[in-house]
């Protein structure tokens, strides 16, 4: 609890002390980007997970999608998407949303094989998500299980930014207002039909660029201003 107050860099060192040698240890060994950095000059990784539910202790990661944003350009060459093999049956009600079937999942790779790549890509970078608890908690739960330590990462959360923008303008927030696909049209961003981890990660990346350009038009964007307080 107090760790949050002491900052991410402190949390990183605490976790590093606990982590067994391996991918998480290597990841945690890389210092975080300075909060004073200009977002326009750094590399950010937009990521989205599809899960079977909301509780990391009971539910599973179904797929992972990510794409890098380098100096405010989204590089599609970095796009990465994987289906995770889940040993439990996928609950029918969630399959409607992510459209991943048991068969597809069975053809995927175990999370233990995928997590190292995710950690490698995030090392020394910033994680960009829309509503961070899902990604943070699910990846952290997987890390605890596989490497014995939590996942610590500096995070930009577009949902939080949207909330702040609404509050600053004294807008009352209606249910659904903060959803990724309801926010995008406000910035003249196109509607994507597909709904999967990679297209959502891409949609989040675009939304972030739009938000940052609108908050700091043509000016440096201090990373600290965007980092999640969670």
């Amino acid at each position: 609890m107090f760790a949050r107050l002491l900052g991410k860099e402190y949390q990183r060192k605490q976790a590093l002390a606990r982590a067994a040698s391996g991918p998480l240890h290597d990841y945690l060994a890389t210092p975080f980007i300075d909060r004073q950095s200009d977002c326009r000059r750094i590399e950010i990784v937009a990521i989205d997970l599809e899960t079977t539910g909301l509780d990391p202790s009971k539910d599973d990661i179904l797929s992972i999608g990510l794409v890098h944003v380098d100096r405010f350009g989204i590089r599609l060459s970095t796009a990465w998407h994987r289906i995770v093999r889940v040993d439990r049956a996928i609950p029918g009600e969630t399959a409607v949303i992510h459209q991943i079937t048991d068969d597809q999942s069975a053809a995927g790779a175990p999370i233990a094989e995928l997590l190292p790549e995710v950690l490698r890509r995030l090392a020394g970078r910033v994680m960009l998500v829309h509503y961070s608890p899902i990604e943070q908690n699910f990846i952290s739960a997987a890390c605890e299980k596989l490497y014995g330590a939590p996942f610590v990462v500096p995070t930009i959360d577009t949902l939080e930014i949207a909330q702040r923008v609404f509050e600053r303008r004294n807008h009352t927030i209606q249910p659904g207002d903060l959803r990724l696909f309801n926010l995008r049209p406000r910035y003249n961003l196109p509607q994507y039909r597909a709904h999967n981890a990679l297209s959502d990660a891409l949609a989040t990346a675009e939304l972030f660029l739009a938000m940052a350009e609108n908050l700091y038009p043509g000016r440096p964007c201090p990373l600290g201003e965007f980092l999640s307080k969670r």
Partner: protein, 619 residues
């Protein structure tokens, strides 16, 4: 490919020129893209060395004088920073709406260009090549099942020329003919065509007279056969064949042998053709008969439009028929009114004179009378004659000219000296009125009557207008009221200054400017042709008009006119009245693209001419 990037692939694959790329290349393409967001008001392009594709939002591009040149919307491309030579003066801009941009490095673009010539053509700097391909695309898209006589013979050639060398034996030649399954061969001496041999020659000049077959082919060939150019219309080729009783005609392109056309080829090719209509016009006994025949004109227009017929040839076909109808009406009038008291020439003006009529054009005409004309004694005859013909034309669907530029108007029914006076006045002291008349009376062509009367008038017009720089300056200034738009923006026509229009007036924004340019050039150089393409060709290669520009203008005209004909054909098919107004949503992406290039050609030439004729210096 990551299935998830399919969204981006799909966006690209339906867009020009990406749809030309092979599927494997399209699969790879999203991976090479970088995405950027520009807030409204940000400078564009954000970075050099990239091709930009607008995914959402809008970008305005300006020239060096801060004039809007172009406005890009969803799906539009900006390739200026990838072009080796930057020909465009329009190279900077800004986002006029928040915009999401896809970027592709110039290096990658070059690789794609190497992989696909069709894709590459889109980025070629040559407007000429693009317009050429535009015209052929529109013709290919037409329905080829309706064959007509308005096609150029070159398009009927299916095989390369089958030739034998001079001195080959008759037997060798016959063997080659049966081997190639042809009924004729051409005999060559080096690169020159010296003779023609047909099946019939083998029968009549060899077997029938008992030659052995070992004699050289030169013995039995037809020497120096007549040839035709590949651009000759099939109707004309057929006429040559029937008149001279040939069944085979070697076809040349710029003098080079390209193939052979036979009477059978032509016969197979004819169906709905204007020749039949023309014959029926001649057979008509009464105005009512002519009206009946004319009812088939819109249908002819439709059929020609749905066949692979160029806009130019359709204009020619319709104008020729109008000429025939006019001629037949005059014969009927003379039969009724008696022999004309003095010689006259019936003149056509405007689109009929230019051979650019469509089936629903209105009539523009005038009477040129001999100077022996005495108004008191003779005018009642010519008034009645004019009335008869004009009413007849109207009944046939060529409605009265709303500006009253018709021979029924006593002003336009005058002896030569009065006409010469008119033109002197119009040319020497131009007024807004004379400028208005210029598009009718400076396109003037004798249809029938005593043609000699017309020549002195024509010579006078050409001589005087050539010498009068002020007249030419006025004409140019006047023609600037019809300027092409900048292009398109979403579902609108983009105007100068950034306003948007709902529809594009193909006639006044595309065809009229080119017609005006050609008229003015011809008048300034004293060239006789009246048809726009002929005028351009006659002026090409002079100081006033480069060969390249002439060709670009001709292609631009053909493209815009073809679009108009297709648009009108669609309206006629739907039972609507044909007009010139096309909403941009009816245009394909490719057509919009080509139109934009055509507009640029027109705009460039207009700017050159305004300077050349000093139209910018008029008060």
């Amino acid at each position: 490919m990551e299935v998830e990037l399919i969204e981006i692939r799909q966006f690209l694959e339906q867009r020009n020129p990406f749809f030309y790329l092979a599927s494997e290349l399209l699969d790879e393409l999203p991976r090479d893209i970088e995405i950027r967001y520009l807030r409204r008001g940000s400078a564009f392009p954000p970075q050099d060395g990239f091709l930009y594709i607008v995914r959402s939002g809008a970008i305005e591009i300006f020239d060096e004088d801060d004039e809007l040149c172009e406005k890009l919307a969803e799906g539009d491309l900006y390739s200026v920073s990838c072009q080796l030579v930057n020909l465009s003066q329009c190279s900077r801009g800004e986002a006029s709406e928040d915009a999401l941009l896809y970027m592709l490095s110039c290096t990658k673009l070059k690789a794609l260009c190497r992989a696909s010539p069709a894709f590459s053509e889109h980025f070629s700097a040559s407007v000429k090549e693009r317009l050429k391909s535009a015209v052929s695309t529109i013709q290919e898209s037409a329905d080829p099942s309706v064959a007509t006589m308005m096609v150029e013979v070159g398009s009927l050639i299916r095989k390369p020329p089958i030739t034998v060398a001079s001195g080959m034996t008759i037997r060798q030649t016959a063997a080659l003919m049966s081997n190639k399954d042809v009924s004729s061969v051409m005999v060559m001496q080096d690169d020159d065509l010296i003779g023609l041999v047909t099946d019939r020659d083998l029968r009549k000049r060899c077997v029938a007279i008992g030659l052995t077959g070992n004699e050289p082919i030169n013995h039995i060939m037809t020497r120096d056969p007549k040839t035709i150019e590949s651009t000759t219309l099939t109707a004309q080729a057929l006429m040559t064949m029937t008149r001279q009783r040939f069944h085979h005609l070697p076809v040349t392109q710029n003098g080079r042998l390209v193939g052979m056309i036979t009477a059978t080829d032509l016969a197979n090719h004819q169906s709905a053709n204007s020749a039949y209509l023309a014959a029926d016009v001649r057979k008509s006994k009464t105005v009512a008969d002519l009206v009946e025949v004319s009812k088939r004109l819109p249908n002819l227009h439709l059929r020609l439009a749905s066949a692979s017929v160029t806009a130019r040839h359709i204009g020619e076909a319709v104008s020729c028929l109008t000429d025939s109808i006019t001629g037949r009406l005059l014969e009927m009038a003379e039969a009724e009114l008696g022999v004309p008291p003095v010689p006259y020439v019936w003149m056509a003006g405007g689109s009929q004179a230019r051979h650019e009529q469509s089936s629903h054009s209105d009539q523009d005409n005038a009477l040129l009378l001999s100077d022996d004309f005495d108004k008191q004694r003779h005018d009642s005859y010519f008034e009645a004659l004019a009335r008869f013909v004009s009413d007849g034309l109207d009944a046939c669907g060529f409605v009265y000219c709303p500006g009253n530029a018709m021979a029924t108007n006593p002003e336009w029914r005058q002896p030569l000296k009065v006409w010469q006076g008119y033109f002197s006045r119009w040319i020497e002291s131009p007024t807004p009125m004379s400028m208005m008349l210029s598009s009718i009376f400076f396109d003037l062509r004798p249809v029938t009557g005593k043609i000699e009367l017309f020549l002195p008038l024509q010579q006078m017009i050409l001589k005087k207008s050539q010498e009068n720089r002020i007249f030419l300056a006025y004409m140019m200034a006047n023609s600037m009221q019809h300027r092409p738009p900048l292009g398109f923006f979403r579902q609108f026509v983009l105007e100068r200054g950034g306003e948007h229009d709902e529809t594009l007036d193909l006639k006044h924004r595309g065809i009229v400017p080119i017609t005006d340019i050609a008229r003015l050039l011809a008048l300034s150089l004293g060239k006789e042709p009246v048809n726009t393409v002929e005028r351009l060709r006659a002026c090409a290669g002079t100081e006033a008009l480069s060969e390249d520009m002439a060709e670009n203008l001709e292609d631009a005209l053909e493209f815009i006119a073809s679009l108009r004909i297709q648009h009108q054909a669609n309206q006629i098919r739907k039972g609507k009245k044909a007009d010139n107004y096309v909403p941009p949503r009816e245009l394909s992406e490719l057509e919009r693209e080509h139109l934009k290039h055509a507009f640029r050609v027109i705009q460039t030439m207009q700017e050159i001419m305004v300077k050349r004729f000093g139209a910018d210096k008029l008060g």
